[in-house]
């Protein structure tokens, strides 16, 4: 490892920590979110340095991109309902009792001790230590795909991944449930110029997303990253008002949400029998089945993430407005 690379690592690590602190301490919430997005992107960069491009891609697209969009949307909503939409730095948007400085310092000291303990434990643990390397290498030929991360996600530990899709499903059901009947703050919208931009970029994003999905079987990429990129299409469509969710679309949306989990679980169940257990894909069909699952899961993820961004279930009759700014 060259010194330059180490220097880069140290700088990057320092920036990540500094951004983490800054995003929690900066007064303006909008600035905090922006700092958080930068933090997320730099973390992704660090993960690239640690030879984890799939993870970096997922963090950048979902952990930072989608999360950032969700945070911004919520901030917009809060400013709207509290009537502080037009104001500058917005603090204290949510009323909570002030925390005494003593408590903060006590907590900080406590967490400092935890950090120290964890750091010591980390330093004492083996590095480049034991892992699944050999097991994965041995099992790869039977996995049906060439990219190890995809093999883990969709074959070796497919059960985890199914449940992760179930978590997404639970989230979208919960969000629809939570925001039912919520008065409709106008969604943050893009201006005319951006609408044009959106129309131009959409096809490109679709192509990138699909490529990522397909590529996932042999190189970094896969359902989640692809889904996230496609979800970006949804976000743009929603923001640019090219697509406005209608009550009539609910049924279709429900089917789209459950498509991934349903198909995944269905395939897992259907392949069992004849001496095979659930999730045990027949070797000759493994590739095709995995690609099928990935494709359907990608659609589900994209629609679900977009729906999580949109929030409310579209309903016909708006429930009485909470606040009227006009």
């Amino acid at each position: 490892m060259t010194d330059a690379a180490i220097l880069f690592d140290l700088l990057l690590a320092g920036s990540v920590i500094a951004l983490a602190i800054a995003s929690l301490t900066v007064r303006d919430m909008f600035a905090a979110i922006v700092l958080f997005v930068i933090f997320g992107l730099l973390s992704a960069l660090a993960w690239v340095r640690l030879s984890a491009p799939d993870v970096a891609l997922a963090e950048a697209a979902i952990g930072t991109g989608v999360t950032g969009a969700l945070l911004l949307k919520t901030l917009h909503h809060l400013r709207y309902v509290t009537g502080k939409l037009g104001e500058g730095p917005a603090r204290g948007l949510t009323p909570t009792a002030p925390v005494p400085a003593g408590v903060i310092w006590a907590n900080a000291a406590f967490c400092g001790m935890i950090t120290l303990g964890l750091a010591l434990a980390f330093l004492g643990a083996p590095r480049s230590g034991p892992g699944f390397d050999a097991l994965v290498a041995e099992a790869m030929p039977a996995s049906g795909v060439d990219h190890p991360v995809t093999a883990v996600l969709l074959n070796f530990r497919a059960y985890d991944t199914l449940m992760e899709v179930v978590v997404l499903l639970a989230a979208v059901i919960a969000v629809w449930q939570i925001e039912r009947g919520l008065s409709d703050a106008p969604a943050p919208a893009l201006g005319e110029v951006w609408q044009g931009f959106a129309r131009l970029t959409l096809p490109a994003i679709v192509v990138v997303g699909t490529y990522l999905l397909w590529k996932g079987s042999e190189a970094p990429g896969g359902a989640f990253q692809g889904g996230a990129v496609l979800a970006a299409v949804g976000l743009l469509l929603l923001l640019s008002r090219i697509y406005v969710p209608q009550p009539a679309h609910r049924g279709l949306a429900r089917w789209a949400f459950v498509l991934g989990a349903g198909a995944f679980a269905g395939v897992a169940l259907l392949v069992s029998g004849g001496g095979r257990v659930a999730f045990e894909y027949p070797a000759e069909h493994a590739y095709a089945l995995i690609l099928l699952i990935e494709g359907l899961v990608t659609i589900s993820i994209a629609v679900t993430l977009a729906a999580l961004f949109h929030g409310r279930e579209p309903v016909a009759a708006p429930v009485p407005e909470g606040r009227n700014d006009t």
């Binding site: 434990a121 034991p130 449940m163 919960a174 089917w255 989990a261």
Partner: protein
């Protein structure tokens, strides 16, 4: 497709049920009930298999751990599954009747079935990362259920619950990271094989704190009372009766696979339990609303379960988990009955202020009777399952000479008599009524469900011997 493994069905039936209930909102209730029933059938098949074989292991995808994930059913896990299925079925039947609002009905079922999926997954899981994903499934569905009523108090409580849940899960995840760092694997067998080390201690500490937060052990209980008190009755019953048990169960498994490194830590866990019993008891005595009182009693009972865990110290852990497990089962059944009954009382009277219960001229006698029956098990009076649990707890503590745990248990029992008798006074006083007495008007489905649960909580005590020998099947913890 021939015979499908009941282990798989136990997981997949509620999942497919949730999906169907979500895409068919109009039929959600019946789809949901059917799915819960079918899941119960799968669990029954699993009971049969475990009785025959002791343990049932399924390696998903045909990949053996540590690379793959195995599901394992033994006596303890199937007892938890059976309790979940039984309580879940009765709460579902109660919910058919008590959830009147169309949209509440529509969302209750998919969320509850996802919750069931998550809990079944926890009880069958043998992989710590998979457990992390499962507790997140549970968390999201549980929060969705908490805020089902949509009131401000419920949403506020739900948000606190969400924060606590996420934080607990992340602490657990960090612990998983340290386990991998040290051992390079994630299955239970890896935990058992691991030598003590700094990283493993850190992992254990992180995971235990995360779980204690999720199961609301004092002083990490802050989120629980409001969340459980403000949810709609069937949701409260599920949250208090079932959901907190999932994290407790993982705690029980982990701490026996990775023993707490020091006797002091076992004692500390017991002390926190004692804190829960006393503090929760005081709060229950002060609570102004019935459902809040019941929620604080959950805090107390969680504390008691941890005392049961610590009752005989480090050397006694190989027996103590049984006392804890009995109390978990007892509380699951009795508390869900109690919350459903409290919900019925609130529905009929129109409020649940304890001080004004006796002013009402409407007396939902059956629900009040159910509440009292459930209280018998929760106080720990014979012959209920709660009594058997308490007996087992005190027996071990006494045999080990740990009189302090005996004392705390007795104080907790007396306090529970005191706070429940506040409620009984509200039920049974008749000289403050404002009109003619209107007694209970016939049977309702929503009354039958909690009554059945309450009767079960009491009569299961008579079956304690078979239950005890069942949970030992497959040697969940002991040496073979």
């Amino acid at each position: 497709m021939m015979m499908i493994d009941p282990v798989i069905l136990t997981l997949f039936l509620p999942l497919f049920g949730a999906i169907a209930a979500f895409v068919l909102p109009r039929a959600a209730a019946w789809v949901g009930l059917l799915a819960v029933l079918a899941t119960g059938g799968a669990v029954a098949a699993l009971v049969r298999d475990v009785l025959a074989a002791g343990e049932v292991v399924t390696q998903l995808g045909g990949w053996a751990p540590p690379l793959g994930i195995a599901l394992r059913a033994d006596g303890l896990s199937v007892a938890m599954l059976a309790m979940t299925a039984g309580v879940g079925l009765l709460v579902s039947i109660g919910a058919l009747d008590s959830l009147r609002d169309l949209r509440e009905r529509q969302y209750f079922w998919p969320l509850w079935l996802l919750l069931l999926t998550g809990m079944n997954g926890v009880y069958l899981g043998t992989d710590i990362f998979n457990l992390y994903v499962m507790i997140e499934v549970i968390a999201l569905a549980a929060v969705g259920l908490t805020v089902l009523s949509g009131t401000k108090q419920a949403v506020r409580a739900g948000l606190e619950y969400m924060y606590a849940s996420i934080l607990g899960a992340l602490l657990f995840l960090m612990g998983v990271g340290f386990v991998y760092l040290q051992t390079g694997r994630l299955d239970f067998a890896g935990l058992i094989a691991a030598e003590p080390s700094g990283a493993m201690s850190a992992a254990l500490a992180l995971m235990v704190v995360g779980l204690l937060l999720k199961t609301a052990l004092f002083p990490l209980h802050f989120w629980l009372p409001a969340a459980h008190a403000n949810a709609t009755a069937p949701a409260s019953a599920l949250l208090s009766g079932l959901v907190v048990k999932a994290a407790l169960y993982i705690f029980l498994r982990l701490t026996t696979y990775m023993p707490l490194p020091d006797e002091i830590l076992v004692t500390l866990i017991g002390m926190l339990g004692a804190g829960a019993v006393l503090w929760g008891g005081v709060q229950a005595l002060r609570a102004e609303r019935l459902k809040l009182l019941v929620a604080w009693s959950t805090v107390v009972q969680i504390g008691l379960i941890f005392i049961a865990f610590a009752r005989a110290g480090q050397v006694g852990l190989s027996e103590s988990w049984k006392a804890a497990a009995l109390l978990i089962l007892a509380h699951g059944v009795a508390k869900s009955a109690m919350f459903l009954a409290a919900g019925r009382i609130k529905d009929e009277i129109g409020h649940d202020r304890i001080a004004d219960l006796d002013k009402s001229d409407i007396r939902p006698t059956l629900a009040q009777f159910t509440f009292a029956l459930a209280a018998i098990s929760i106080i720990g009076l014979p012959p209920s399952l709660g009594f058997i649990g308490k007996w087992t707890l005190m027996e071990g503590a006494m045999a080990a000479g740990y009189w302090h745990w005996v004392a705390v248990t007795m104080i907790g029992t007396l306090m529970s008599v005191a706070y429940f008798s506040r409620v009984f006074a509200g039920f049974l006083r008749f000289d403050r009524m404002r009109g003619e007495l209107a007694e209970h008007k016939g049977w309702a489905l929503a009354d039958a469900a909690p009554l059945t649960l309450a009767i079960a909580a009491i009569s299961l005590g008579l079956m304690a011997a078979p239950i005890l020998s069942f949970i030992e099947l497959g040697y969940p913890f002991g040496a073979q």
